[in-house]
Every structure is written in C-alpha cells, then in structure tokens.
Point group: C2
Chain length 484, copies 2
C-alpha cells in the first residue's frame, strides 16, 4: 500500500519522533477554522513535524520520489481549507518550529521561523514598544508562516494593511528542493525595489502552492499610544454607508470599522451590556468605529466622529481610551454571537463567508445574502469590515441534517456568485484554499490560466498543496471514514 | 536593413501618424532622468504612439514577427534606464494614452489608462477631496503606468507606502498578445485575496519585462487636512539616527523624514533662506521631519518632536501648517542644490544612486560613500529617506572628462558593492532597470535564477524590454552616434 511505503520512507529519513502516522493523530489535521471541513473529511497519510530547512528539503525529496502531495500547515486557523489534505500525502506541520532568530529593534526588524505565533512574536517585541500590526484575531494560535502564506489582513487592516506590507524577505524551499531567499540574499532593509519582487504575489498569499516558507523577515512598527472608539446602534442598516461617507468627508481615519447586522435574538445580549442606553427598536445594526494613533489625534477623530454620529438616528456608546475599548469590541461580539439563540437545535459554524463588494454596494450585497439565506431555510449573521465592503456571513446550521447541508453548499456557491455579479470578489481575507479554487476561472477569467502557468513553472508535478487556489479533481475520502 | 523592414511593417499596421522614425524624434527616447544615459546613448528603431489595447497588441505582434524588442515607456522620468532601448527595437510610447475611464469616489477608486500623469489624476480627484498618495516628486510628468511598472514610492512612502498598496487591478497585454486582467476580471473591490496575486510582484514593479500595462484600477484616499514639520540643522550627522530613535520611542509618526548631508558650499544658500537663525558651524546636516493627518494629531506630533529636537545640539525651523511647509521643503532643496557651486566647471547630474541599508547602518554607509567619492576625485551630495536608510548620492561631474567618467562608473559600482556588503540593497525606489541588472545575482543569489525562470515563462523570446532587471549582453550603440 502506497501509504505504508510513504510511512516507511519517512521513518527512514526522520526516525519515529518526528513522524505521525496513527489514525487519531492524523485526524487532528482534518479540520481548520472554516466551515468547509464540516462537509468534508480528509486526512493525510502521514505528518512530519519539521523544525529545520533540512527537514523541509527531506520531506520534499520523499514527496518527489513517491509522487505524493505535501501540505504545509501552521496553526490550522485558516478558513479556506488551505492546510488540509484532500488527496492524502504528507502533512508538513511547521507549527513547532518556533525560533525568533534575530530581533533588531534598532532596524525595526525580526527574522523568525514559520511556527512562531503572532502573540509569541509580539511578546518578544513588547519590551521595545514594537509590534507586528496585522491581526487576524487568532494571535495565540496563528503562525507567522501561515500569516504570510495567507497574506493575513484582519480587523485593523483598514489602517495598517495586510501582511505583505510587513514582509521584507522570505526563505523558501521550492518543490525542487532548492532553497532561495527572496527579497535579498542577505539584505536587512525595510525598503527595496531591486529585481522582480518574487516575495509579494509569488510567495506571500500563495497558500503554500509554490514553495514552503521556512524563514520570514518582518518589518515591525511602534505600538500606537492611544485608541478610542464609538459603537453606533441603529434601526437602519442604510446608515452604515451614509455614516462612513460623512466620516470620510470629514477626514476621519479609522483603525477599524466593523459592522454587525443584528438578529432579533441578539438584542437581549446587547441590551444586557448597555443597561443605561435605551436601544433603538428594532435594533438592526451595530457599527464599531475605532481610532488609533497619538492621544490628540485620536481625540480629534473621536470628537469629529461623535458629532457626525449624533446627527444620525440611533444611539451610541463611547470608549475614550484603550482601557475601555475592549468593552465595545465585546459588545460587537455579543451582537454577532447573539444569533446563536435564534434557531433552536442549530449551531453557529466557525468562520463565515468572506465576500467583498464595491463599498457603495454593501447594502445591496447584504440584502442579496439575506434573500439567499432565506431560500436555504437557515439562519445567519452578517458582519464584517464596513469600509472595505467585506462581508462575513456566519451560518447557523443543523449539521446532522443532510438535506440542509446540501442546501447550504448551494447557498455558499450562490453567495460567491452574488459577489462576482456585484463586481466583487469571493474572498477579502480568508483566501482561496480548497473552498474557492473551483471559482477562479469565473472570477479571474484568462488570468486564472496565467495562475496555472505560474504554478506549473514552480511545481510541474503538482506536489505542493494540490487543489488549493487552483482546482483539481478530488478523489478524496468520504465523511464516513471520519474517526475522531 | 532590419530597421527599414520594421518601419515598413509599423507603417502598414498604424499609418504614418502614430509611428516615429526620424533620427531626431527617436533621439528624444535616448534618455531618462538618471545618470546612466550620460554614459550611454541608445535609440529605438521606431516609436509607436499607442492609445488603445489594440495598438499594444498590434505592436507586440509585429515584434514577435520580426523578433525585435518592445520597450514600454511612460513619462521617461525613471532613473534606472528602464524605458530606453539598449538593443533598438520598438519604443512603445504610452504617454499619450490618457483616459480616466472611471472615477467612482463613492468606491474610492479610479480606472485609468497608462498615460495619465499623477497630477492629472489628482486634479480629477480633487473635487472629491481624494488623491493618490504615492508621490515620486515628478507628478507633472510621471504616468500612472510608469508608477505601477516601477512601484513608485517617493518622499511620503514612509507613511503611505508604495504604489503596490494602491493598485487593485491591472489590465495587461502579455508578450504573446493575450490580454488579461489581474486582480479580478471585472471586480471593483478595494480588498481581495482571491487567487494568486499576479498583480503584486509579477506586474507591479516588473518594469515592463513581463507584460505591457494598459489599464490600472487604483484605490485612492482622502487628502489629509493638516501638515506641519520641523527642519533641524546640526553640525553632527550622527544626530540623524539618534534623533529618529528618540522620536520613534516617543511614538511620533512621520509622513516624511528627509536628510541632506550639507556640503560647505551649500551653507550660504541655507543661510540666505534662514536669515534670523544662526546656523551651527560647520553646518553638516539638515533633517526635515514632516507630519500629516488631522489638525490635533499633527499638532501633537509637532509638539512632541519639537521638545525632542530641542534636546539636540543644533537649531531648527518650524512650519506650523500646510501653507508654511513648502518653505521647509525649499530649504531642503537648497541644502541639496547648494552643492552645485562646490566644484567649478562640474555639473550636478540628474538623479542619484539609491542604495538602502539597515537603518542602524546609515552613518556607516554615508561615510563609506564619501570615502569612495573622494577616491574617485569628484563631488557629491548625499540625501534621502532617513528612516528607511535610503541614500541618494547625487554626483557633481565633468561629463566631458573621459577619464573622470570612467572613474565614476567604477564609483557607482563600488557604491552598489558597499550597499550589499552592509546587508543593504542596491535600490530603494529607483528600480533595477538597465543600470543594476548586472548586480542581481550578487544581490539575490539563487533567487536571481528564479527571476529568469519567471521572465522566461512570460516572454520566452525576450521581446519585452530586454536587459531590464535581468542582464543581457548589450550590443548597443556607442555614444559617438549621438545626434541630438
């Protein structure tokens, strides 16, 4: 059996310590943080716990020899199926490779290995008043390697952008086994336009289909000293774009601008946390506006925003400083999580869809999604990054109901089609992965063919993370095989 | 003669109006804004004034048929020889293709053709209080197409980043003649991670070697309401990194932070413009710190910075608002331009070198450059973007002195070698072009080979802009052939 030969070869290369082959161990690699793995159960044939460039090189050599796939994986916090193994093969677990090898605050830089988590890096940077800005809200588990592979954005990307702004160089092992550093062989700069920029576009955000990221040089930034915000609550979802436009005209700069379309069931949760604030009825929308920077600048943003918000029908709660901001974020979470009680017997599945539409079409997109969700006969909560027009649709499902799950698969496809019809994109920050790879031709047209050519240039045998970003026929395994 | 056949075929395709073939017309394409074209004189065999996708497709078809190069060109404001024709061929002049085809301020977007200049776009955006932030200081001439091809940064990139932050989609004609839109076939979003990000890395900053950019969808931003700054003058260059470190520790955020190492000859120019300020003697360094944002935030930056600057030996001048800032920028220019009178009979050549070093090695790099310039027996002024460690070395030369020019070619090579030795990069923002293409293996190691593979994938016949980024043997023409 191919799988046994693979395991034997891996034991020969690594010994038993670094190789996992037990069914229950491999089952732990069958999921990520998205909904896709509710529908599909895939496990690798073996997992290698890699802790060096040599480990990665050896893993790829075995994969080439036996023509089996290699699936790089960090913390498993992705939501697009990017780190699971739809056609078996070797799961290359990089999460235990944690060294912070250089920390040079005087150069605003760090060089880390892929398994370092965001929280671990930020803890090491804290004594210098520095941090890495992109924050996908999973800092305790998400790895820097995974953040690069998925070009992580997160809730403050409005102000700080995504991971590609902070990656200065990458060490990468190509499917051929070649080890290259992109971004300068030994440069330690925080700006350069030398050569073709292979790191951005080719490796950042390529979800492990072109090479395995083994080292990352990041640029870091000073922690902003002040933060404040307003939570606006209203009966009118149309206030979202209208308010944002006014704030933009007034030159307000957000660090985050998050909305939740509130389900009736969530009103109680919000009300409980705002006992002194009479809520508008019905409570249809919550919008969190956050500002970050120096204390005077933040006070200006808050004051300007407060005056504008006061002109809109609704109510609001203010956090004047960093210490009070978690209260507003919690309220936002409650507004989102309150959907849980809206459908007895159903469960909120992790993650959510991730479409983006032109900002002016936000309301149209939200209404389209709600219609589709109604047709599918399930519940959802829509939330997301308002200025970007980036909508997450979190679903409330009865996962044991096979008929319902079929309708949900159709629903997700329809949401993606809606996004494309509204001149949008199927994913703002979660990535393509396995989930959206079948949509690339529809979304990108002839450019999808160019993506294939690039993949083929780097990985002609399709060894690295097959099926992610670019679709393959999936032999896969059925959900019945599920063991844990 | 091949050149005559080429001209004949172009006339057949385009008629006479859109094709230039006269020697004196083609001579106008022999230069850019850098020093390289002082040493080398190259002209194309013909120029096509392209104003449509079809024009570009037809030009590439003729090029494939006759196996001649195509060199895309915008405003010719580059400094790395990226838009000149070292091996003849067709100069594809895109500067007259100026349409702003979509302007949707409600979506913070515009779709423009490559010949639109930065100033033209910003003029169209101004009524909405919007603008495109990257500013290479040549807004009246540089085109958006050229800004994308070179991934323009400029003096405020410290706060706003380079062009890649603002490009949402590109229409590109590949060397094969295929027309593709990268960044979504018809998406109009300001955030997406769908598919391989072919625009960033592959086309942005690729200096026209992979495809011809025919359409650009940019994201735009609100014009910041306030700006202020401090010009600090000192006898001690070492104050630059020390001051920056203190300001970073105090959480000051710059929109620009520019230094000039002042030549003695420039002191008069600076003194004339600061009549009431006794200058430190000798005046060795000028540092301009600029802050941009909301009025209160800018006032905080200015006040915090002023207190820190006051603790350093030297003197300073303050601009409290936007209206007064040009005065400080002019002083910076005077400090740089004052070098002109330092060497009778010599001329300041345009542009300058563009190395970047780790920020903590700025002084070491400056001292290294000055030593090398001394050995070459010429004069220079060093200026640049202090926080980034990005140094421009502007040279004062006797261009008619053949011996001196030979020494200067050696000098430039030595400056590049110095950059690499100091864990730096040969170019922070000017690009690789023809000038630095021979250095790519030295700077990037095995990654240079990967760049070649990518180039070969897109352009196996090396038709598009040969010699840029990746070196070729240059048959070229000698400077003696120069005619205008």
């Amino acid at each position: 059996m191919a799988s046994e030969l693979l395991q034997k070869r891996l034991y020969e290369e690594f010994g038993r310590e670094q190789v996992l082959t037990a069914k229950e161990e491999l089952a732990c690699y069958s999921y990520d943080s998205g909904i896709y793995t509710l529908f599909h159960y895939f496990t690798p044939d073996a997992a290698v716990l890699a802790k060096s460039v040599d480990d990665v090189v050896k893993t790829l050599a075995v994969a080439r020899e036996l023509k089996v796939p290699v699936i790089p994986r960090g913390g498993g916090t992705g939501q697009a199926g990017g780190a699971i193994a739809p056609t078996g093969g070797i799961l290359l677990d990089l999460s235990a490779w944690k060294a912070i090898e250089q920390l040079t605050p005087e150069d605003y830089q760090a060089f880390v290995r892929p398994g370092v988590t965001l929280d671990e890096l930020n803890k090491a940077l804290a004594p210098y008043g520095l941090y890495l800005p992109p924050d996908p809200s999973s800092g305790s588990a998400c790895t820097i390697g995974g953040m690069v592979a998925n070009n992580t954005a997160g809730q403050r990307s409005l102000k700080y952008g995504a991971m590609d702004r902070f990656v200065m160089a990458l060490e990468v092992v190509l499917p051929t086994g070649e080890v290259v550093t992109v971004g300068g062989k030994q440069a330690r700069v925080i700006k350069s336009v030398s050569g073709l920029d292979l790191k951005t576009g080719l490796f950042i955000g390529s979800e492990g289909i072109l090479g395995v990221i083994t080292g990352i040089r990041v640029k870091v930034a000073p922690v902003p000293p002040a933060r404040a915000g307003i939570l606006f609550l209203s009966s009118d979802r149309k206030a979202i774009p209208a308010l944002i436009r006014k704030l933009y005209e007034a030159k307000v700069v957000f660090s985050a601008c998050e909305f939740v379309l509130v389900q009736p069931s969530a009103e109680i949760a919000v009300a409980r946390n705002l006992p002194d604030t009479p809520l508008p009825s019905p409570l249809e929308m919550v919008l969190l506006m956050e500002f970050e920077g120096n204390p005077s600048g933040v006070a200006w943003e808050l004051d300007t925003a407060r005056k504008i918000v006061a002109g809109f029908k609704g109510t609001y709660s203010i956090a004047e400083n960093k210490e009070d901001m978690p209260r507003l974020w919690l309220l936002l979470d409650e507004a989102e999580g309150g959907v849980m009680s809206s459908r007895p017997g159903a469960k909120r599945v992790p993650g959510g869809e991730d479409i983006v539409v032109p900002p002016s079409l936000l309301i149209e997109a939200l209404e389209g999604i709600q219609q589709l969700v109604g047709i599918a006969g399930v519940s959802c909560v829509n939330f997301g990054h308002a200025v970007f027009g980036n909508i997450h649709t979190g679903l409330l499902l009865k996962a044991d109901d096979t008929e319902e799950m079929k309708r949900v698969e159709t629903l997700i496809a329809d949401i993606h089609t809606l996004a494309i019809a509204l001149e949008g994109s199927t994913t703002g920050e979660h990535g393509t992965g396995l989930v959206r790879s079948p949509l690339m031709t529809q979304e990108h047209g002839p450019a999808a063919e160019i993506m294939k050519r690039v993949k083929n240039l780097f990985d002609p045998d399709n060894i690295l993370n097959p099926g992610k970003i670019l679709p393959i026929d999936r032999p896969g395994r059925s959900a019945e095989e599920k063991t844990c």
